[in-house]
């Protein structure tokens, strides 16, 4: 046995998954990414089946294959499954699988979070799907407009399945968003500056940050609607001072960016594939980065274009119409960069490129109808017709599904070590492409002829008959194309010819991880000084597995990867990553119990489940820093660069800050809801006297301020290398903040809030609960740190965790005083003026 084999065996021992059922405890990004993609594919097939049912029903006029009620469930579940259970998770799975391999890392920086995210997605998806099999699926559309989805018009549990299940799934999306952001910024191979990063990583960075800011408004909206349905808190009920339009604002604040959250990673696949098959670097790398950043921001400024018909002033409509047209500009920059790359390169026409060309045609058409829909008068004309359905599918199928399949064929050898069949693959493409256009090109016409969406049948003789029939036939042809792709992928595992090393002659590092890749990706991590490492240093495919580069020590048994500077890529630390664990599965399982208990309104079990989930998460957090299961202090640990838990700027701090950005987006959405109802809701009513005691609330805030000042002092001293009195200091902070929390709890419990009669009081209660949650969390994690000091896991040589928690304290303090000002002082001042 040679040295290389011995090295790989040692790495395998440390990085491998456990055998048998133990594989459920896997946290490795390759395993988790694969699971995300496989599960997403299963949901795609279910969503496709539902689409076929809908198209069968609409094929001929006056059909009764599905009743109106079942049809509503079918199209709602089709949209929900495709958007929430297929598109986002499968792209996240792709990113989770690919990103470490592209940036020269061995894993993502929070592997256990990946695992938690996967199980939340799986359980949430199962919960939503179970509603379909129980015959009580949601039926208000994938956008769940209120009051249609409220208790009055949707009295069954359908809406509850959607709200609870989707919120559960979105925990997974936000977790992936945080993890991918920190991983891309902090764990690139040494030397890989931002300007040398593979272009796919820019797309995923933008997508991850968009998830961080875009998903919280929907999470809040779902929580509010569920509270309205389960506890009678009237956020969307006009008579009590609520407003159903608030749901639309919160939903589309998420919903529009969502389209770009789906499009950007898909465009990233295109930007990765085109240069490889053109045999040259992409034209305008800098322009593409520019357009990614522009898209990321401007797409948030378009949400009202989904609401052009609800009666907002023309001037406001003009703002959103122009913003909607402007978002086409960064997209056009990318399309021109792709065309220029193809134009100036020597293009190899094979399977992945076929899908790229399909994408270019379909997506550009979808973009053009998007610009048409941005024009207000046209939008009014085709609103709620099949034209909009056709546009949506051109953008989403063209902009996401085609690139996804291009990526699937491109990376398939990396996944299995074998090549796909060109012949079966081409059949799959042409059937899908022809079927898709037959379905949706016709639907533009059906819409222009006035056929409304969401109706389960229609009269004959209105000019819609042959168009619908053609659409349905097209749908089945497309389904045959998808079946062909599945067949190709399944068969290729057995019959595909073995792939050569780097079979497409690509430029990026994933092709140096082995085919199929090893669990640790790279036995040694090289310095990366170029944007195209495998083109300029093709020997990396040999030298990396032979262990000729950095971080080859494995005798210590830790899973390690390099941590680098976010901008310059300069080597900063060695990150030690957690190994296989049951805690993520246990925590997700407890959360699933909470979810199901809330669905069946069995609240005692929900409370027990919440406590159990919290216990799992806190126990999980215990295995951190210098804990024996993480990286115990030893004599021979690396000093230059040091282990990350021995530093002040580890990935945990970055993770905390990014998580708080998501949390802040949720808080801002709540603040928006408050101001929106206050200024716009027609029946908004304020009680004559505030139910909440302002002096006591202020007293609570003073205790919180003292706690935060004390905590910050402790951290400042720790940074100076002084840990004297650290343990007692942390206990003191906990004690002071318990006083704050006790007063806050008492103020909340004793306030005679009419939260089932007044939207005003309902929002106040949510805000108070939000503050209690954050303060409570801060107290618990600080007390845990005090305990860790006693165990020797935290001291001046191990300052990592107190520094990670500091932003949480500052944030809790910020939202407390901001809430006091916005929810109490400002309305009082307004009332007096």
């Amino acid at each position: 046995m040679n040295n290389t084999e011995t090295l790989h065996q040692r790495f395998e021992k440390v990085w491998g998954n456990l055998p048998g059922l133990g594989t459920l405890s896997a946290v490795n990004h390759t395993s988790i990414g694969r699971r995300f993609m496989m599960t997403g594919a299963v949901f795609f097939l279910i969503g496709g089946l539902l689409a076929m049912l809908a198209r069968t029903q609409l094929a001929l006029p006056q059909q009764n294959i599905l009743s109106a009620d079942v049809y509503s469930q079918v199209f709602t579940m089709h949209g929900t499954v495709m958007m929430f259970l297929f598109a986002i998770p499968i792209l996240e799975g792709t990113a989770i699988y690919m990103i470490p391999k592209l940036i020269g890392a061995r894993d993502l920086v929070f592997p256990r979070i990946s695992s938690l995210g996967y199980y939340c997605y799986l359980f949430g998806g199962i919960i939503i799907m179970s509603s379909l099999f129980l015959g009580v699926a949601p039926d208000s559309g994938w956008f769940m407009y209120t009051p249609l989805s409220s208790a009055e018009f949707s009295p069954g549990p359908g809406s509850d399945f959607w709200l609870l299940g989707i919120t559960f799934v979105e925990i997974s999306a936000v977790a992936a968003g945080v993890e991918l952001t920190v991983s891309i910024l902090r764990s690139r191979a040494p030397g890989m500056t931002l300007s040398k990063m593979p272009i796919f990583c820019w797309y995923i960075l933008a997508m991850a940050l968009m998830i961080v800011f875009g998903f919280p408004p929907l999470i809040l909206a779902s929580v509010l609607l569920e509270l309205e349905r389960a506890a009678g808190m009237p956020f969307f009920e006009v008579a009590a001072g609520g407003d159903p339009i608030l749901w639309q604002h919160l939903f589309w604040l998420f919903g529009h960016p969502e389209v770009y959250i789906i499009f950007l990673p898909a465009a990233g696949i295109i930007s990765t594939i085109i240069p490889v098959f053109s045999g040259r670097p992409i034209v305008g790398y800098r322009w593409i980065v520019l357009s990614i950043i522009l898209t990321g921001f401007i797409s948030f400024g378009l949400w009202v274009h989904h609401m052009f018909t609800i009666g907002i002033p023309q001037l406001a409509q003009a703002f959103f119409a122009i913003a909607s047209m402007m978002v086409a500009i960064p997209t056009a920059i990318q399309v021109f960069a792709w065309l220029a790359t193809l134009w100036t390169g020597k293009v190899v026409y094979n399977l992945p490129m076929l899908w790229v060309f399909g994408f270019l045609i379909v997506f550009v058409c979808g973009g053009l109808t998007g610009v048409m829909l941005a024009m207000v008068p046209f939008n009014w004309q085709v609103h709620d017709t099949h034209f909009v359905v056709a546009h949506l599918h051109y953008v989403l199928v063209g902009g996401m599904f085609f690139p996804l399949i291009a990526g699937l064929y491109y990376w398939l050898p990396q996944f299995s070590g074998r090549m796909p069949s060109e012949r079966l693959g081409r059949w799959g493409f042409w059937l899908t492409f022809i079927g898709f256009n037959a379905t949706f090109l016709m639907m533009h016409l059906t819409g222009l002829l006035g056929m409304p969406r969401r109706v389960y049948t229609y009269e004959g003789g209105l000019g819609w008959d042959w168009l619908n029939l053609l659409s349905s036939v097209g749908g089945f042809v497309m389904a045959a194309g998808v079946a062909m792709i599945i067949l190709d992928v399944v068969l290729h595992f057995h019959f595909g010819r073995k792939a050569k090393v780097n079979p497409w002659k690509a430029d990026t590092l994933e092709w140096a991880t082995g085919m199929p890749p090893t669990p640790y990706n790279f036995a040694s991590i090289p310095n990366i000084e170029t944007r195209h490492p495998l083109w300029e240093q093709p020997e990396l495919t040999r030298s990396i597995p032979q262990g000729q580069h950095g971080l080859t020590e494995i005798e210590h048994g830790r899973r390690e990867t390099y941590g680098s500077d976010a901008i310059s890529g300069k080597l900063k630390e060695v990150m030690h990553l957690p190994t296989n664990s049951w805690w993520p599965l246990s925590a997700a399982f407890c959360l699933a119990i909470v979810c199901v208990s809330l669905l069946v309104r069995f609240y005692p079990v929900a409370i027990i489940g919440t406590i159990a989930a919290a216990a799992c998460l806190l126990r999980w957090s215990w295995e951190n820093g210098a804990h024996p299961a993480a990286a115990p202090v030893t004599e021979n640990e690396p000093r230059n660069p040091p282990l990350h838990s021995r530093t002040f700027d580890g990935p945990g701090l970055w993770g905390m800050v990014i998580t708080l950005l998501a949390d802040g987006a949720l808080y801002l959405s709540l603040l928006f809801g408050w101001f929106y109802l206050w200024t716009v809701s027609p029946e908004w009513a304020v009680p004559e006297e505030s139910a909440v005691s302002l002096p006591w609330l202020t007293a609570s805030g003073i205790f919180l301020t003292i706690a935060v000042v004390l905590y910050n002092r402790l951290v400042a001293r720790l940074r100076r290398g002084d840990d004297s009195g650290l343990g007692s200091g942390l206990w003191l902070v906990s004690a002071v903040s318990v006083a704050h929390l006790a007063i806050l709890l008492w103020v909340t419990v004793s306030a005679p809030l009419q939260f089932t009669e007044l939207a005003h009081d309902a929002v106040l209660l949510v805000m108070l609960m939000f503050l209690i949650f954050h303060s409570g969390l801060s107290v618990i994690v600080t007390a845990l740190q005090a305990l860790r000091v006693r165990f020797g896991y935290v001291h001046k040589g191990l300052p990592y965790e107190p520094i990670v928690i500091k932003p949480l304290w500052v944030y809790s303090l910020g939202i407390f005083w901001c809430s006091l000002a916005s929810f109490f002082l400002l309305p009082m001042a307004w009332g007096m003026s």
Partner: protein, 113 residues
């Protein structure tokens, strides 16, 4: 003006300013129309439009200034830093143009109709 350094914040600052301006534009219009809507006959010549126009022009001016400063500082720097500032300059410029185009309808449309 002080020389701009190649801080990565510049990659998003232009669009953050644009976002804040956009929220102020839409939020300000909505609140003003709820609190003190001017008569429909006044057309675009209202205090609301005037305020929104001033806000738009001021934001555009600031963003243009930042674009110029980034462009001026970029050539003297090393590759990675030059990369950041060149992108930042383009983002400032496009943010300024976005603000200007989106804000232009305040010149012709009445605010609350």
């Amino acid at each position: 003006m002080k020389q701009i350094t190649a801080h990565p914040l510049h990659l998003v600052l232009g669009l953050v300013v644009w976002s804040v301006w956009f929220v102020a534009l839409y939020g300000g219009l909505s609140v003003a129309c709820e609190v003190a809507p001017p008569a429909a006959e006044a057309g675009a010549l209202t205090w609301i439009n005037a305020s929104l126009l001033v806000l738009t022009l001021a934001t555009t001016g600031v963003l243009l200034l930042l674009a110029w400063a980034s462009l001026r500082a970029a050539p003297a720097l090393k590759s990675n830093r030059r990369f950041i500032l060149r992108i930042a300059a383009a983002i400032y410029l496009l943010s300024a143009l976005s603000a200007l185009f989106i804000g232009l309808p305040v010149v012709i449309l009445p605010p609350c109709v």
